[in-house]
């Protein structure tokens, strides 16, 4: 095993890695910004090195300082967590050059998967389904129409130079195509000074399904099943579950096969996630590969019993995988809720501050990943996630009930959190049916927020009325 690891991250993922190191007799060094001086990971690590002020750019993204800290404290390896430098090929390369093991894949695998066009090309070559399309600019409306007929409608016509939905048109049939193409191209021309467009299949009512992968340095690759992460708000996942409810085993088998192929194609090492978009017809397409541990990895840990961060450490130490594909059995169902210091009734605006009181749930099948404690201060500088609550049940229904219970047990005072909106999701009919898509948040959240607001105001007025009644009684 490794002897000493530097954790180049903060927050709950830093604590996750530190705990795993402690559980395996590995010494830890954490680097931290001045804003995180009193944070739990800094208290827990064997050593800590301040690397800069609060601004991530001047601390957690300072590669030189982190490498220097690792070298001067005698670390063998660096765990990058997620975010920050975790998918930065330059940082991975710097680690490699400086004799430090980067706990993750090679810098070239990160670079390959980070380049969306290249990744798509590699995946296609490896036989992994990618969103079908023109694979580049389309010179004329007629050519585009031909491609669209090949890949099937509906399609999207998108500006090559585009973004933000401009220069984008949907065509549901061949009849509509020519008009849509010209309109997209014209808009692209006027918006970006470049009328080039390409054609891509439109996945209707998509779900975000991802497959967890483990790969060692010897080319052994296994998968740990899939997760459904379709409940996202502005591309931020809110709630994840494993496995994806109501998927045919034959679709699962294809998914797993594609994910393993993807990992093998880029000579992947360590834990990684292959993300797919899945249509209502259960056909799925590669979107991207996350070359790092993910926020939602615990749901997979809960249903497989495999400790993903432990496996990362083992693999980084050069050990071959000690589990085989046949050992992986999905047991029951797991759900994770991300609790953020955000005001859901105010457009989810981040609300840093001091945690006056916190009480977390416990008991069988409940896991908490958090760095907050009574009196902890949530810094405005970083991500607003303050806790992850993860539950497992024998069935999805039991997991849902357990999560409702776990959230009901949780008390966080001093800052607004997304606890209530998460609880609302757990009672939402679309969620309960399990077949929700990435449109869930946009469609369902507004009504929930209205109810929350009404509840809050009603509660407020009820309280006022009670107080008045009390005083009149006196």
């Amino acid at each position: 095993m490794l002897n000493k690891v530097l954790i180049a991250n903060r927050g709950e993922i830093a604590l996750r890695v530190i705990r795993e190191c402690m559980d395996n007799g590995i010494q830890t060094v954490i680097v931290y910004s001045e804003a995180d001086r009193d944070s739990l990971p800094v208290m827990m690590a064997d050593q800590s090195v301040c690397i800069g002020p609060a601004s991530p750019r001047e601390s957690y993204l300072q590669m030189d300082r982190i490498i220097t800290a690792a070298q001067l404290t005698g670390c063998e390896a660096i765990h990058p967590g997620f975010g920050f430098l975790s998918e930065n090929p330059k940082f991975a390369a710097m680690c490699e050059e400086n004799g430090l093991k980067f706990i993750g894949p090679s810098s070239s695998a990160i670079a390959d998967m980070g380049d969306k066009a290249k990744a798509k090309e590699m995946m296609k070559a490896a036989g992994v389904p990618v969103v079908p399309g023109s694979d580049g600019p389309v010179s004329s409306a007629e050519e585009g129409k031909k491609i669209a007929e090949e890949i099937g409608f509906p399609v999207l016509i998108k500006a090559s130079a585009g973004g933000g939905g401009r220069g984008m048109r949907r065509a549901d049939s061949a009849d509509e195509f020519i008009d849509a193409f010209q309109s997209a191209s014209m808009e692209a021309e006027s918006a970006f000074g470049d009328g080039t467009v390409y054609v891509e299949k439109l996945v209707v009512n998509p779900r975000h399904i991802e497959v967890q992968i483990l790969a060692d340095q010897f080319g052994n690759v296994i998968h740990l099943g899939e997760r459904n992460c379709s409940i996202q708000r502005r591309n931020q996942k809110m709630l994840e579950e494993a496995p994806c409810f109501g998927l045919d085993d034959s679709v699962r088998a294809d998914l797993y096969d594609a994910a393993v192929k993807a990992a093998k194609a880029c000579h992947y090492e360590s834990a990684g996630t292959v993300e797919f978009v899945m249509g209502s017809d259960n056909r799925f397409y590669f979107i991207e590969m996350n070359t790092r541990v993910q926020v939602e990895h615990p749901v997979t840990e809960m249903v497989t019993g495999v400790n993903i961060v432990y496996q990362q450490l083992r693999i980084a130490a050069g050990a071959p995988l000690n589990i085989e594909q046949k050992d992986i059995k999905i047991q029951g169902h797991a759900i994770e809720c991300r609790i953020c210091a955000e005001d859901a009734t105010n457009d989810f605006s981040p609300a840093p501050g001091k945690v006056d009181f916190v009480h977390f749930p416990g008991g069988n099948g409940v896991r908490v990943e958090s760095i907050i404690y009574n009196g902890a201060v949530i810094s405005p500088w970083y991500d607003s996630m303050v806790a992850k609550i993860i539950v497992q049940g024998n069935t999805r229904v039991q997991a849902v009930r357990r999560m409702r219970r776990a959230l009901a047990e949780t008390v966080i005072r001093g800052i607004p959190t997304t606890l209530d909106i998460q609880q609302a999701i757990l009672y939402n009919m679309q969620f309960l049916r399990g077949s929700y898509t990435t449109g869930f948040a946009e469609k369902e959240l507004p009504a929930m927020i209205r109810i929350l607001k009404a509840g809050t105001i009603a509660g407020e007025e009820k309280r006022k009325a009670d107080v008045q009644e009390e005083s009149t009684e006196d």
Partner: protein, 169 residues
């Protein structure tokens, strides 16, 4: 609870309130606070206490040293930043701008760049910080006298770790 903790709590409560003044006595603490703002304080009183504390409550440290009133307990618990003594007040910290190894001299055999008590001109090299195999010279930001060298040659220096205490000239 220790006095300093009690003090901190009371002060924090005061800061979060819209009180103008507060006086409290409890075992281990006797404290009187007045918020400055604009409000003209009562004058001409004999038992003045809260009055002439002019400290604007915003700055904690200022209040802590608030002369007249009580808080005798500043050495308790975890007073991380101990109040400075009169002399130290003049000293300025020279902090490490990055993470690296502190070298007090250009080579193992060389004389140190600076010694305690030495006068140094702005721009003169104080020490070298090695990071990523690069030697970074740290230069005096102004004319100064080195009062204290806080590191040993070869020590690891963290970001903003104090390397020297100096006196501005």
């Amino acid at each position: 609870m220790e006095s300093m903790d009690m003090f901190k709590e009371v002060l924090s409560d005061f800061n979060h309130s819209d009180l103008v003044s507060l006086q409290v006595e409890m075992p281990g603490l006797k404290l009187s606070l007045t918020r400055g703002s604009a409000a003209p304080q009562p004058t001409g009183t004999a038992s003045v206490d809260p009055a002439n504390v002019s400290a604007p409550a915003a700055d904690t440290k200022a209040v802590a040293s608030a002369g007249a009133a009580a808080v005798s307990a500043q050495n308790s618990g975890e007073v991380k930043a101990p109040a400075k003594t009169e002399n130290e007040e003049h000293y300025e910290p020279i902090q490490c701008p990055l993470v690296g190894v502190f070298y007090s001299a250009a080579s193992p055999d060389a004389e140190p760049f600076v010694k305690e008590g030495q006068k140094v001109k702005e721009g003169d090299v104080l020490c070298i910080i090695e990071a990523m195999k690069a030697m970074n010279e740290l230069k005096a930001p102004y004319d100064l006298i080195v009062r204290k060298v806080c590191m040993e040659n070869g020590d690891m220096a963290e970001f903003h770790q104090v390397l020297f205490e100096v006196e501005k000239c």
